[in-house]
Structure formats: structure tokens, C-alpha cells
Point group: D2
Chain length 159, copies 4
């Protein structure tokens, strides 16, 4: 019997961060691409980092693209999209620093998910966001969150 193929995934087990006490934590290194001529991190870089945090949070919760399609209801593939963003910038970050993106679920409704996300450096919050996420089909129609999504989030909902 052939040995199962060993992929890059297996070589880098911590790549998607980890979930600790209902909060997903993803480490981020600040590279050249994230900074601007002011010498600090460009403000839109946090928006990209928060998206990475959400993607890996879903990944560790086991929510895959196939789960986003309610069987028997629609055939179209669906993806999560951001509906509303509120971001407060408190302190700047700089090249070469290691930050953590913390992502927690505030609330899950029939069609929307509210997340809180922070960029943290050594226990200091640099940037804080509240993000509303909805599920939308390829053609643009909002979808109800499926039972699988609700179930996956049970373990990380606030008490």
C-alpha cells in the first residue's frame, strides 16, 4: 500500500496559528511590504492581516468551502465576505516586529457573524477591529449560515 503523500501542510503544523480559550491567535511578522514611507506599518496592512486571522480561524474550526453550501438548497459555491468593518488604530507597528492577530467571535446570527480582532505586540493592543461577515453566493446573493457553521462556532462563542 502506498504511503500517503506528505505535503507541506504536515511540515509546518503551527502555520494556521492556534485557538486558546475561544480566541484564535496568528503570529504575523512585519515585512517591507507592510510598511510605508512614514517608517511605520501602512494602515491597510492590518486589514489584510485580520483577513488572514479570520481565514485561519475558520480553517482550525474545520469550516471548509464545501460546508458553506447547504445541501438541497443551492448549488452555487459561497464565500464569506466582509459587510462592515470598524477599526481603531491605537499605536504604530514597525518593520521586523512580531505581532499577534487575535480573533474572537462576538455573536452569530442567522446570516451574519460578528468578530472582534486585535493586533497585539507584547500584550499591548495596537489596533482593534469589529468585523461583520456574511455568506454570499457566487452570484452575489446572501445565504443563511448553515447548521455546520453554527455548530463549528459553538465551541468558541462567548459565555
Amino acid at each position: 500500500m502506498p504511503e500517503p503523500k506528505r505535503g507541506a501542510n504536515d511540515n509546518w503544523p503551527g502555520l494556521a496559528g492556534r485557538i486558546t480559550e475561544r480566541v484564535h491567535i496568528l503570529p504575523i511578522r512585519v515585512y517591507f511590504e507592510d510598511t510605508d514611507f512614514s517608517g511605520l506599518v501602512y494602515h491597510a496592512s492590518y486589514i489584510r492581516w485580520f483577513e488572514r486571522g479570520r481565514s485561519d480561524f475558520l480553517r482550525l474550526l474545520g469550516i471548509h468551502h464545501s460546508d458553506l453550501i447547504a445541501s438541497g438548497r443551492q448549488q452555487e459555491p459561497a464565500t464569506f465576505v466582509v459587510r462592515r468593518l470598524e477599526v481603531d488604530y491605537h499605536r504604530p507597528a514597525r518593520i521586523d516586529e512580531v505581532l499577534e492577530i487575535h480573533t474572537g467571535c462576538l455573536e452569530i446570527g442567522p446570516v451574519a457573524l460578528w468578530l472582534e480582532q486585535t493586533a497585539v505586540r507584547d500584550n499591548e493592543t495596537l489596533c482593534r477591529a469589529r468585523v461583520q461577515v456574511v455568506l454570499v453566493s457566487r452570484s452575489g446573493k446572501p445565504q443563511r449560515l448553515t447548521g455546520l457553521v453554527h455548530k463549528a462556532f459553538q465551541s468558541v462563542l462567548p459565555n
Copy 2:
């Protein structure tokens, strides 16, 4: 007498958009770099476009970096940085489309500027943001907006 050097600036007079009825308008083409695998524009692209709009709004108002240094008070160069962002995503945009970024001033205070920005396609608002901007010195200290900044914004304040 040597002819004054003719730079690229002179060849592209409309490049910074225009101000019409207190609102700055900047055209934006959607390129490959702005989209993601969903087939639509990536949500952080709007954040970059809004920054372009703000930069060109200031440019057309004649606010240059040297004006951001109050004479006699501080020597350090200062730049505008985003302090708070609120963004609502209404409708998606797609590759090759031409959008307009509309930027208007909601309010100007002693240290902060509130702007409203929208991404518009054929009179339809795709995305709307409220952005709080403050002036910060190179070393991170918030600065009072100078008289020159206040004066420049007089002509575009809401009635």
C-alpha cells in the same frame, strides 16, 4: 534663458482628480491586483483607494508636507494617519470597471479631521466609509492641526 523643465505632472493634468461642489472625485480602474479569487474586488482594496482619494484631496487643497509643520513649535516632519475607520460594503465591484472615489470633509476639529468617502459606480454606492484622520509627528506625538490646514479646508466644509 532656459525653458523651465516640463515634468510628468504637466502632461497629466487630471491625474489627481477634481473637486466639485466640496467633494473630491478620483477615478479608479479595477486592475488584477485589486481582485481576489472570488472574482470580485478584495475588500482591502477599497481601503487603499480611499487613501489615494484622501492624498489627492489634500494635494488639490494645496496642503503639502511643509505646511504640516507649525513654525516655531516643532521641527519634526508630521504626516496624517488614520485613527478610526468605519466601512460598509454594499455591492461588489469587478475587474476592468471604472469607479469613482468621492471624498468629503464632515468636520474639522483642533486635532482631528472626519471624512466621508464612497466608492461609486455609475451613481451607485458600492462602499461607504467614515474616516478619522489625525496629524502625528515622526516620533508618534499627535499634533494640533495648523492654521494652514484649517484655512485650506474652509472652502470644502459642509454648510
Copy 3:
């Protein structure tokens, strides 16, 4: 009879640049997003700008996505993708500057297109690239360049 809808395209006629003496020229403003903490333009920004130049060159040559599908041969949509890039960085660019991206066709073969692209500031070449572009179907198969593509490039081939 209803008046034809007037879109953003009509309001910004020069947005895709222009073709002069077989060379496409697109103006580029350097924004915050294009720079890094060194104070200069980030090296990958030129790669994005060159892509914008190629997209608008094709647009002005009238090559639309539908032309990229040879009738009767394949049904799949196809897009141009970069196969090889050679880039030389000569001089840095800085925030607020206006550059021009010049794009010319070096050679067109049965399956590949070679373009030369430069980033120019006041007649000074900052960065020069040679780019090989091929047409690839959605599923990844290389496609022959159609007669329509060859015809569109006739007017801009070097003598």
C-alpha cells in the same frame, strides 16, 4: 428613445493612458501604499504598475476577453499570464511623484508575446522590464494567440 446611460468611463477619457508612436503610456502617481519604510518605492510596486500598463495597452488595442477565445476551438475563458519577468532597478522613486509606465511590444509569436516596459520620471528610466506573456485557459492549458490578437498588435509592432 431613452438616452444611453452615461457611465464613469465617459467621464474620464484619459484613464487608460494613450498610445504614441507604438508605445503605450500610463501615468502613475506614487501613493503611500507603493512605498516602504526605506522611504522609497517598494520593489514589487513596479510589478503591479507594469501589469496596469499591460492591461490598459490591451484595452486601447481593443483586445477584450471575448477575443481571447478562438471560435470553434475552445469554449473556456482564457487570460494572459506572465511566463517570465526580467527587471532591472536603476533609480528609486518616492511618494507623491508622477511616473509614466511605457509599454511596447518587442515580438509576437504563435503562443507568446514579449513586451518591454519602463517606469520613467521626467525622461529618466527608473526601472526596466522585459515580460513574456502567454495566453492560458481557465484550466491551465496554454493557448495559441488568436488571429484577432495578432491583428490588434500589427499597428504597434517594431519596424
Copy 4:
């Protein structure tokens, strides 16, 4: 005696990748931001990833910004900048995949460093680059590579 502060760096020991047999390996996850509407990874994303690989290679070799200033010769800070890039795109990558960026030193001269970099997925090379890097002072003057840089690279030069 106060305990030394424990930073994010210590919590994520593998974040900068690792050097194995003279080659630096950095894992990369493909996120939304890296893809474009074709459904594949945008070609400039590899250029950003290669820069991350070079930064972390230098980091693990112990080359810090202070080492880039030859004592007694110049006071100005200096940074490595790309002078030439040659990139071949072989196969596409897709959202959610885990890739590895491999970086090796081909040659080190008095002023320039030649690196070979590949993006690899499960032992398959997707993209290959040769990159020439030089050291440039803040004001733009090329600098000789210092003895410390040469010494740091001794252990990773090809036989």
C-alpha cells in the same frame, strides 16, 4: 530581580523559517490577498513572498541593520535593495495552499549578492527567481558589503 520580558518572538520560534543544508525555507499560506480574479495567485505575490524569504534568511544568519554600517566609514543607515530580478512562472498556486519559499546564496561579491529563490509545493517548483541584491545607503549610494555580511554568508555559500 525582574524576569526578562517575554515577547511574541519567543512564543513563535519557527516564524522565520529554518536553514537546512545551506537553504533557507519559509512556509507561506496562500490567502485571499494573494489571489486575483483568475482564481489563481497573482504574479506579483511571489515577488512579495521572495522578499519575505530574503528577510528571514538574513534574520537567521544574524545580519541586523546595525551590521550593515561599516564602522568608521559611513554613518548613514543602509538597506539591501533589489537591483535585478529574473522570474520564471511554471505552475499556478491556489487559495489555501501551503507553499515553501526556498532561498539560497549563489554568489557573494564585493558589492552584490546573487540569490536563487523558488516557490515550491510538495516538491514541485511553481516559480523560480534569480535576484541580485545590493546594499544602498539612505541617500542612495551603493555600499561595499561589510566583513560581517561576508562572514555571515560563509556558512551558506555553495561548495
